[in-house]
C-alpha cells in the first residue's frame, strides 16, 4: 500500500492537505513564542501521514491551524494551508464551519471527554447530517446507526440509543470515528487517537483507521508521539521538534536509516521488546522553550554529535530519495 501511496506524491493534482511555510506565534509577556516555525507538510490522497513529536513540539497547534481552531491568542504570521489546492487562511468563520465536518474532520485524543455526557450517542453521531445536510433527526439517526456499523460497533441499533458513559473507551473512540467519517470527509486529522486507550484496544482502533483509509479513500494526518504506532500506520512521516520539521520521508526509509540524531534517539528510546534491551532509554534534557529557542539547530542542546557547525541551522538535506533531514551530518554520511 505504501509504495502505491507514495506514487501519489508524484501526481500533478494537488495534495489533499498542503501546508507551506506555516509559522504560528503566541504573544506572551516574555515575547513572541514561536510554537510552529516554517512547517511545510503535504498529505496526498489516501496517504496516512504521521506527524510525530514530543509534547510541546507544536504538532497539535499545527492540527488546530488546519481546522481553523487556533486559540484566539495565537497568530499565523506566515505560510499557507491549502485543502485540495484552495487556501483556508483568511476564510470567514462561517465558511470554515461548512468545511469542518464536511471536508476535514477530527478524531480526538480522549474520546470519553469528547462525547457530550447528556446526549445519546446516536444523536451525536447523527449531528453532522443535520448540521451539514439539513437532514431530519429520523434520517440522521438511521445514518448514524449505519456509520456505527461501519466502525464495527456491535449492536449499533441498540448502542445508538445509549449514553456515552455506557460505552467502553474503545467503543467511545469508535463512536467518535463514526462521527468523523459521517460525511466522508477527504481529510481526517487524528490527534493521538489511541493515547488514552488500552494497548489491546489501540491495535483495534488503528486497524479500524487503516480500514477507513482503504474503504472510504480518506487521507489522514496522524499526530502521535509513538514511533511504534507510526511504523504500523503511516506511509510518510514528519518528525517535529520545537516547532520545526527535523526530518521527513517514507516510513521504511526513516526507520531503516534515520538521518537526524533526534530521530535516531527517538528510535532508540522506543521499546522494541527484544531481550537485548535491558532497560528503557531516554533522551537527556528537555525540549527548549518556544520563547527561548537555541540559535542554530533546535536539537543542539541535547545532541550527542554536536560540533561547531551546529550554531547555524541546516536546511533539510537529502539523505536519499524520499528522505530529508535537517542535520549537517547528513552530508558527510553521503
Amino acid at each position: 500500500m505504501s509504495a502505491e501511496a507514495r506514487g501519489h506524491r508524484r501526481q500533478d493534482r494537488p495534495p489533499v492537505l498542503g501546508i507551506a511555510g506555516l509559522t504560528i506565534e503566541f504573544a506572551t509577556r516574555r515575547g513572541a513564542a514561536r510554537v510552529v516555525d516554517d512547517v511545510t507538510l503535504d498529505v496526498w490522497p489516501q496517504e496516512i501521514v504521521g506527524l510525530i513529536g514530543e509534547s510541546g513540539s507544536g504538532k497539535t497547534m499545527t492540527a488546530l491551524a488546519v481546522l481553523g481552531l487556533l486559540p484566539r491568542t495565537a497568530r499565523i504570521t506566515t505560510g499557507d494551508i491549502r485543502l485540495s489546492g484552495a487556501s483556508l487562511l483568511g476564510l470567514p468563520e462561517a465558511q470554515l464551519r461548512t468545511i469542518r465536518g464536511r471536508q476535514i474532520a477530527m478524531i480526538p485524543q480522549n474520546p470519553m471527554s469528547a462525547l457530550n455526557p447528556v446526549l445519546r450517542v446516536g444523536a451525536q453521531v447523527g449531528e453532522p447530517y443535520v448540521l451539514h445536510r439539513g437532514a431530519d433527526w429520523k434520517t440522521a439517526l438511521t445514518q448514524a446507526v449505519r456509520r456505527l456499523a461501519d466502525v464495527h460497533l456491535p449492536l449499533p441499533d441498540e448502542r445508538a440509543s445509549e449514553y456515552p458513559h455506557q460505552f467502553s473507551g474503545g467503543m467511545q473512540q469508535r463512536a467518535m470515528t463514526a462521527m468523523a467519517i459521517a460525511l466522508d470527509p477527504p481529510l481526517l486529522v487524528a490527534d493521538e487517537p489511541t493515547t488514552a486507550l488500552d494497548v489491546t484496544i489501540q491495535a483495534q482502533i488503528l486497524r479500524l483507521l487503516r480500514e477507513i483509509r482503504d474503504e472510504h479513500h480518506t487521507s489522514m494526518l496522524f499526530i502521535t508521539h509513538d514511533l511504534a504506532v507510526v511504523a504500523e500506520m503511516c506511509d510518510w512521516v514528519y518528525v517535529m521538534y520545537a516547532g520545526r520539521i527535523l526530518e521527513q520521508g517514507s516510513v521504511e526509509r526513516i526507520f531503516a536509516r534515520p538521518g537526524h540524531p533526534y530521530t535516531q534517539a527517538l528510535l532508540r528510546a522506543t521499546p522494541t521488546g527484544e531481550a537485548a534491551q535491558a532497560e528503557l532509554i531516554s533522551i537527556p534534557g528537555s525540549i527548549p522553550s518556544p520563547v527561548d529557542l537555541p540559535r542554530g539547530c533546535r536539537f543542539v542542546d541535547r545532541c550527542p554529535y554536536r560540533f561547531k557547525h551546529c550554531d547555524e541551522e541546516p536546511p533539510l538535506l537529502t539523505v536519499e530519495a524520499d528522505h530529508t533531514a535537517r542535520c549537517w551530518l547528513v552530508e558527510t554520511h553521503g
Binding site: 481546522l67 481552531l69 461548512t98 465536518g101 480526538p108 469528547a114 446526549l119 448540521l131 468523523a180
Partner: protein
C-alpha cells in the same frame, strides 16, 4: 464463592437503599406538590363553599363537621379559602420562576459563553440587583410598579434573575472547558447551535433544581408580600393575607393562622423535596454512580 455472593448481595442491598432514599424524597415531595397543585387547579370543584360568601352568623367558628377548618371573622369557610389561595400561590410562583429562569438563564449563558466585556457588564448589573435584600427589593419594585398580583409576579421574578444568572454562568463556563465543545467546533457547529445543543442540555439540570427551590421561595415571598398587603388584595384569599388576618385572632381563633401557615409549610417543603429528588433522577451521571 459464598463470600462473593454475599458481597454482591450487600452491594445490591446498599444500592437499593440509596435508590429508595432518593425515590422517597421524590415521592414525598411529589405528593405534597401534587396536593397543592391539584388544589389550585380544581379549587372550584373541591372547595365545599365559595371562598367569598360572607355569613356573619357563623363567624369565627372552630373546626366542625360543616366547616372542617372553621370559619373566619366574616364567617367564610377557611378550607375553601386556603384551597383557593393555593391557586394564587402556584400561579405567582410559576410566573415568577419562569421570569427568573428565562431572564437569568439567558443573561448567565451569554455572560459565560462570550466572556470578556459582555460578562463584565452583565455580572456587575446582577451583583447590583443581588446586593439588595430580596424582600426589600420586592417592596421597592412594588412601590414603583404599583400593588397588584401581576406586579408581585414581576417583582419576585426580577429578584430571581441574579441567582439564576450566576448559576447559568458558572455551569456554562464549566461545560465550555469540556472537550466535547471543542469536538463540536471540529464538526462545524455554530455558536448558537453549540449553546442550544451542547451546553443547554448540560446545564438544564442544575437550573431545574434551582427552579424548584426558587418555587418554594416564591411561595414564601408571595405570602410575605400579601402579608404586608402588597400582593393579593382582599377579598381575594392568599396564604399571606390569611396569615396576616389570623395574627389578629391568634388567641380567639388560632386556626385562622395555623391553617394558612400549614399550607405554606406543605407547599415550601414539597417543592424543595421535589427539586432534590428530580435532580437525582434526571442527572444521568448521578444515576450511574448509584
Amino acid at each position: 464463592m459464598s463470600v462473593q455472593l454475599a458481597q454482591r448481595e450487600r452491594h445490591w442491598v446498599g444500592r437499593s437503599a440509596v435508590h429508595w432514599r432518593r425515590f422517597r424524597l421524590l415521592l414525598i415531595g411529589g405528593c405534597l406538590v401534587g396536593l397543592v397543585v391539584l388544589s389550585a387547579i380544581f379549587a372550584d370543584v373541591i372547595s365545599p363553599y365559595s371562598p367569598y360568601d360572607i355569613d356573619v352568623a357563623i363567624k369565627l367558628q372552630p373546626p366542625n363537621r360543616a366547616h372542617w377548618l372553621g370559619t373566619d371573622e366574616f364567617g367564610r369557610d377557611v378550607l375553601s379559602r386556603v384551597i383557593h389561595a393555593a391557586r394564587i400561590s402556584v400561579k405567582v410562583a410559576a410566573v415568577a420562576v419562569s421570569v427568573g429562569l428565562i431572564g437569568g438563564g439567558v443573561i448567565g449563558i451569554a455572560a459565560g459563553y462570550f466572556g470578556g466585556p459582555v460578562d463584565m457588564v452583565l455580572m456587575r448589573f446582577m451583583e447590583l440587583l443581588f446586593s439588595f435584600p430580596a424582600i426589600l427589593l420586592a417592596i421597592v419594585l412594588m412601590a414603583v410598579l404599583g400593588t397588584s398580583i401581576l406586579n408581585a409576579m414581576t417583582a419576585i421574578g426580577i429578584i430571581f434573575i441574579p441567582g439564576f444568572s450566576r448559576l447559568a454562568r458558572a455551569a456554562t463556563q464549566d461545560v465550555l472547558r469540556q472537550q466535547y465543545i471543542e469536538a463540536a467546533h471540529t464538526i462545524g457547529m455554530s455558536d448558537v447551535r453549540i449553546l442550544t445543543r451542547e451546553i443547554l442540555p448540560n446545564i438544564i439540570t442544575p437550573l431545574f433544581v434551582e427552579a424548584m427551590a426558587a418555587f418554594a421561595y416564591a411561595v414564601l415571598l408571595e405570602s410575605s408580600l400579601s402579608f404586608l398587603g402588597l400582593g393579593a388584595q382582599p377579598p381575594e384569599p392568599s396564604w399571606g393575607n390569611m396569615l396576616n388576618t389570623g395574627r389578629g385572632f391568634m388567641d380567639q381563633a388560632p386556626w385562622l393562622g395555623v391553617v394558612p401557615g400549614m399550607a405554606m409549610l406543605i407547599g415550601v417543603l414539597g417543592f424543595n423535596l421535589l427539586g432534590d429528588g428530580l435532580r437525582d433522577v434526571f442527572d444521568p451521571r448521578l444515576r450511574e454512580a448509584a
